[in-house]
């Protein structure tokens, strides 16, 4: 009886050790991948939100979410695409909620609508063309928008974008083509 108890305790300790080691290995792997994919997550969020602070916040949220579910990811090679999707979705949600809030504030404000005075950042960063491009990009369908964004980030090739989104090359080409065409039509 005494021996059995001792053996059981040993097994429990061993299991704890194994679990701890697995967790440590997972954490190490995640951090390695994070160094590679963290900037991409931030840029995707920045491309959607066009605000550094918000983009940082969203990217951090997305990375933490990925961290919590990292052990459930079957194919670790798909981490980059997975993180990009999470970030893109979170950024879109944030942008939508921001737009809703802005719309509400506009409705509740005085009937005489006034344009918000441009901030120092706006004056420094934006020109007319850029703001038009941003507006046109916002109106694109989500799928086209993501392809356009990823192809613009870090000079990703179409093959890389296709691999990242796990979609055929032809689909990437067509989405990019229609996205650019729509943008040109709006900017012309």
């Amino acid at each position: 009886m005494q021996e059995l108890v001792l053996i059981q305790l040993g097994r429990t300790g061993e299991t704890d050790l194994q679990r701890g080691a697995t967790e440590a290995a997972l954490r190490r792997e995640f951090e390695e991948r994070l160094a590679e994919c963290g900037p991409l997550a931030f840029r995707v969020a920045r491309g959607v939100l066009r605000n550094t602070a918000d983009a940082e916040d969203v990217a951090q949220d997305a990375i933490l979410r990925a961290y919590h579910r990292f052990d459930k990811l079957r194919d670790r090679g798909r981490f980059k695409a997975w993180l990009v999707r999470i970030t893109f979705r979170l950024a879109l949600d944030r942008a939508k909620s921001f737009n809703r809030r802005q719309h509400r504030e506009t409705l509740w404000s005085h009937s005489e609508r006034k344009l918000a005075p441009p901030t120092a950042e706006d004056l420094a960063a934006a020109n007319q063309f850029r703001s038009r491009v941003d507006r046109a990009v916002d109106e694109l369908p989500e799928k086209q928008r993501l392809v356009l964004l990823l192809s613009a980030i870090e000079g990703h090739s179409l093959e890389e974008v296709a691999a990242l989104l796990n979609i055929p090359m032809g689909t990437v080409k067509s989405r990019l083509f229609f996205a650019r065409k729509q943008l040109a039509e709006k900017l012309r």
Binding site: F42, R43, E56, V133, A152, I153, F177, K181, A184
Partner: protein, 257 residues
Amino acid sequence: MTCNHYKQALLELAASGPETKPGPKLQAHLQACTSCRGAFENERRLFASLDSCLRASANCEIPSSFSPTIRARIQQEVQQEVPQESSAMRGSGRATDRLVWVSALAAAAILLLIVARLDLRLKPQPTEEPFVTQPAQSPSAPQTTATNPLQDAHPQIAPATRKRFAVKISTTLNKHSVLTGRGEPEILVPPNQEILLARYADRWRRRHQSPSLLLTETEPTQTDPLQVPLIQIAELDVKPLGPLAPDQESDQEYDQK
């Protein structure tokens, strides 16, 4: 082919990106037609500026605080997870102990409740015993049996209600009553007052019965007027006073002194 036909193709070529080369027919037309070439160049410039704008926007500098903040947040999450796990391990034992205690207390309370209810049921109902023990009948005392006036006044009340009544009485008459082992009030009456109490009880009972008597339906019957016989008083017989008794004489002497 007209320029309009090529125009659409040129726009699509420009939208396809700078890497895409025009076909031989389109290339020939571009070389021949200056307006189409100009339009194509314009489109290319537009797309070039669009691409540069998108790239500039997409490839902005990453804040230096981004990576350290992320690592710090992950570290924080890890540290939060560890105490949670250990506290969950410790807490599970405590929770089990607490559960055992709570269930034991609940069981004890239920048992007490059951016992109390059983005790209440097993207690004998208040019997129709006389309220006061009947004293020895004196010839002048009326023939009344002093029963509990409350019991007689409410014959329709259920035993349980009567029981509650009895308890109330026992609390109000606490000073003058002694609770017997069965919980029946027994009033201690000073000597020679049993009859008075019995009379009071009888009167009380009759007073409380009268409304019920009034309420009872009676057959409407013709009653004859009451006929009372004439009172006949015999002649008064006046007698002179006799000599005083010896003890009466001594009283008179005492008064004179």
